[in-house]
Subunit: 147 residues, 2 copies
DNA sequence: GTCTAATAGTTAGTGTACTAATTGATAGGG
DNA sequence: CCCTATCAATTAGTACACTAACTATTAGAC
């Protein structure tokens, strides 16, 4: 295991967890890109669909809290998902301020296709599932720590 | 430790390593934001300075390989760093195609101030250094796996 | 019941990321 | 020597991500 000696050079690039995090994030998202491209989806859009497959309809606020995304980010993203035909957007009947984002039939159908994606990503990574579980656990701790 | 049962729902949001990675990356970068703001820097700009503090001048190509960034991303970013007065940009004498990106005196002076940043981030995270080292090691393995 | 504060989304502006096309410079083959 | 393929950087176009300002609606205080 690589040892990080903070007493030496605290600014050494190859010691920065923030650098490793952003490179790893972008690199893993890059693995999804060719898998999502046939559906016309970006990775953030895919995450929104994951949330909607768990529950639909959902408000922008709810999606934002679940995905840790700003409403200002979601608003145009959801319009693009609507233009692709995967979701519909309509004001909530009970509260005209809130938007009800729902899966369309096309959006629900997509789930079957998408189920193959996680396996392909793990295969492409070629890492042990146990190691990915460990990574997930540490990342969850980091996310908790940043709140 | 959280267990990820891939045999159950492969699309469950709270199991996705990609989601945890992107949230963790954004959350950690958010910790840097108030620390970098006094210098007018963004996190990607800070990473470029880390690279230049290790060696200067460097070409756009060299910076791109080191930081895993596209030249199309670096090109405007470097102009902003120049506008801030931290770097200078001039064509290489030996090869007119290449750009020599150098630290200015102001850019070199900034290093002293920046040395406090990693400690403040670790303090703010409130995690054990050992755990961050472990995270760094796993991330490095992920980055290797994506190449 | 009205008036104000809070809430849900949207819009605008800046700064990455990424792809593809473009410009200018260099190097090698003939 | 020239001609073409390659290379370094830039530009254009799309899509987040974040802050701040704005609009429309709702809820609470009185």
């Amino acid at each position: 295991m690589t040892s990080i000696d903070l007493s030496e050079d605290p600014l050494a690039l190859d010691r920065q967890v923030c650098f490793a995090l952003s490179v790893a994030s972008r690199s893993v998202i890059a693995i999804y890109r060719p898998l999502l491209e046939p559906f016309g989806l970006t990775h953030p859009q895919y995450l929104v669909l994951l949330a909607l497959w768990e529950r639909s309809p959902r408000s922008v606020r709810d999606l934002g809290q679940t995905l840790r995304a700003e409403p200002a980010t979601l608003s145009p993203l959801l319009k693009r998902l609507e233009a692709l035909g995967y979701v519909s957007r309509q004001r909530s009947a009970s509260d005209e301020r809130a938007l009800a984002v729902s899966l369309t039939a096309k959006g629900r159908r997509l789930r079957r296709e998408a189920e193959k994606i996680p396996y392909r990503v793990v295969e492409r990574l070629g890492m042990e599932v146990a190691e990915l579980e460990q990574l997930h656990a540490v990342l969850t701790r980091v996310i908790e720590a940043t709140r």
